[in-house]
């Protein structure tokens, strides 16, 4: 028989814009485990390794440290930082002065207080990690701030997008709330005269 030229299945439903909201992703969850430091991860791997090895601990901890340096929020003063992350939970930017950091006088950062590993095995990926910092109300969150947890030690399921990397060295990660200064800068359709037409074709 000749090679089939069409898809085995397609997406048939046009559900409208509500279906593309954030909520629809929420059941897309992966196994995750968090640790205050590398040693506790290694100990857990030795004791009862479910889906990660000691090597995974080392690799993902190093990745989380790097991601922390590159993507954790930076503040212009220690006071501002402590407002967001709690008193005593902030320090100097360890990467200050190095090339590629945010700069601009934003040189205080929340301390790295743990990291979370997530298994993306079912999604064809490997093991991913995220650095954790404190929140103002005494919880623990990813450095990009999109997920917070009561503890930096525990096991559970979290949304897969928790492990998505934020943009490096400046700005906030995708989907975090931002202070919007201006809106409506796209869509004037400058090359066509007159309005009311489709943008596609």
């Amino acid at each position: 028989m000749a090679k089939r030229k069409r898809s085995r299945h397609v997406a048939l439903l046009l559900a409208g814009s509500a279906a593309l909201g954030l909520a629809a992703c929420e059941d897309d969850r992966v196994d995750a485990q968090s640790f205050p430091d590398l040693q506790s991860c290694v100990a857990a791997a030795q004791e009862n390794s479910l889906w990660f090895t000691e090597d995974d601990c080392r690799t993902t901890f190093a990745a989380a440290q790097q991601e922390y340096l590159e993507t954790a929020p930076r503040y212009e003063s220690k006071e501002l930082c402590e407002q967001e992350h709690g008193v005593g939970n902030c320090g100097d930017d360890p990467a200050q002065g190095a090339q590629g950091t945010g700069g601009g006088g934003f040189s205080f950062m929340p301390l790295l207080v743990g990291y979370m590993m997530g298994s993306m095995m079912a999604r064809g990926g490997g093991i991913f990690s995220q650095p954790m910092v404190n929140t103002a109300d005494g919880r623990y969150s990813t450095a990009k701030g999109d997920q917070s947890f009561a503890s930096n030690r525990g096991t559970g399921k979290v949304a897969a997008q928790t492990f998505t990397r934020g943009p490096t060295t400046m700005g906030q990660p995708p989907l975090s709330q931002a202070a919007v200064q201006q809106r409506g800068g796209f869509g004037r359709s400058a090359t066509a005269r007159g309005g009311g037409r489709s943008f596609g074709g």
Partner: protein, 407 residues
């Protein structure tokens, strides 16, 4: 390639409504029209459409490589000077392309001719990838079409695969379109479903709701930062809008990448003809300014003189003028026998520089002129969608027609 009258599926309009395909009728006329369908042989699909379109995309990439490295070409393509770097960098960084649609003139014999390449914001994706697919499956179940018929339509699966190749697992992708335009919205939703299936997060934002944060990043209409943005909105407009100054500093990843501004520009057609003169799937094409005088019996611009001499018989027999930027047939005119034989009457793009392309008349089948839309995903042609119209220039209300491959 034949046009065949077929019974419509009973109750398909209800099914369309149930699925959210709300624009199956538009302007009081059918848009989705299954009272007939186009039939192709497998040979016609593979030899005349699939392989040539894939090759054309490769040629287009060669043309982009040339244009982005050449200030003069970027000027001719009317790309604002301040954005030359953005476009050139996106190419040198090898930012991957997602999809596009080539419009081809083809009648079942001889080589298909590239009319234009909408490589940036092609619509009719849902109709092509999904509703057309359902039509085939159901017509087979009803016994209207035999079990050995097939369809050139791996669009959805190819999109899923492509998203998996070009974005990291779990990437949050925003899809921006005009929320009040159901056709545009259906295209981004079809893409978003494919992205979700590939393991990405997909979020919709109204295009005009996009904001700029105090840190210079773009945000969606709920103030959430945009990391990766698919925009169903032409690059030529992105580059001229108020937010254009922030495109690079926002560090947003764009789909399609900025270099598509070069490719989805009718000025590509003269560039392709200059690079690949006489290619069987290309039509002679020139910038209007270079040949306008020559078409009236005068002389062409010196740098195209020999190419014009080789093409002048074809051009004089019939040619089409099109603005560099235009969508859905706007500003397109067919010239034959020294006069305008047909035009669309929509001049919203006609203030832009024009190109001239030799006429490859669309065939006439049962009173309608079909045009083939060859879908490119990544770098390969993976599917087909047809539009047809009583007029010779396809436009936004032209009907969508299903096709099948004869078993």
């Amino acid at each position: 390639m034949r046009k065949i009258t077929l019974p419509e599926r009973p109750g398909w309009r209800d099914r369309a409504a149930e699925l959210g395909f709300t624009f199956a009728d538009m302007g009081g006329e059918p848009y989705w029209d299954e009272t007939s369908a186009y039939a192709f042989t497998l040979d016609q699909i593979e030899r005349d459409i699939e392989d040539p379109a894939t090759e054309l995309h490769d040629m287009c990439r060669e043309a982009v490589a040339l244009a982005v490295a050449d200030e003069e070409w970027l000027e001719r393509l009317a790309i604002p000077r301040q954005h030359h770097d953005l476009i050139a960098q996106s190419w040198t960084h090898d930012e991957p392309e997602l999809y596009g649609r080539m419009d081809l003139s083809y009648d079942g014999t001889g080589p298909a001719k590239l009319l234009e390449y909408n490589a940036d914001t092609p619509t009719s994706l849902y109709e092509s990838a999904s509703f057309q697919w359902l039509w085939l499956e159901e017509q087979q179940q009803l016994g209207v079409l035999g079990p050995d018929t097939d369809q050139f339509n791996a669009i959805h699966e190819s999109l899923v695969e492509r998203f998996g190749q070009i974005t990291d697992p779990g990437t949050e992708i925003h899809f921006a379109a005009d929320k009040d335009n159901p056709e545009d919205y259906a295209t981004v939703e079809a893409l978003a479903w494919a992205a979700r299936e590939a393991g990405m997060g997909a979020h919709f934002t109204d295009l005009s709701g996009i904001g700029l944060s105090d840190q210079g990043q773009f945000t969606d209409d709920q103030d959430r930062v945009i990391g990766t943005l698919f925009k169903l909105y032409p690059w030529e407009d992105m580059l001229r809008d108020e937010f254009a100054a922030h495109l690079q500093s926002s560090r947003t990843r764009f789909l399609e990448p900025p270099w598509k501004a070069v490719l989805s520009n009718k000025g590509m057609l003269p560039l392709l003809w200059q690079m690949f003169p006489g290619h069987p799937n290309l039509l002679p094409a020139f910038f209007h300014a270079d040949v306008a005088d020559a078409l009236r019996g005068g002389t062409p611009a010196p740098h195209v003189a020999s190419a014009f001499a080789a093409a002048q018989d074809a051009l004089r027999a019939g040619h089409v003028t099109k603005p560099l930027f235009s969508r859905e047939g706007a500003g397109v005119a067919i010239h034959q026998d020294g006069r305008i034989a047909e035009e669309t009457g929509d001049d919203s793009y006609s203030h832009h520089p024009m190109i001239v392309q030799a006429l490859a008349p669309l065939p006439l089948m049962d009173g309608f002129h079909p045009v083939l839309g060859a879908w490119i995903v990544g770098r390969s042609c993976v599917g087909l969608g047809l539009r047809e119209d009583r007029a010779r220039i396809t436009h936004n209300l032209s009907r969508f027609k299903p096709h099948f491959i004869e078993g």
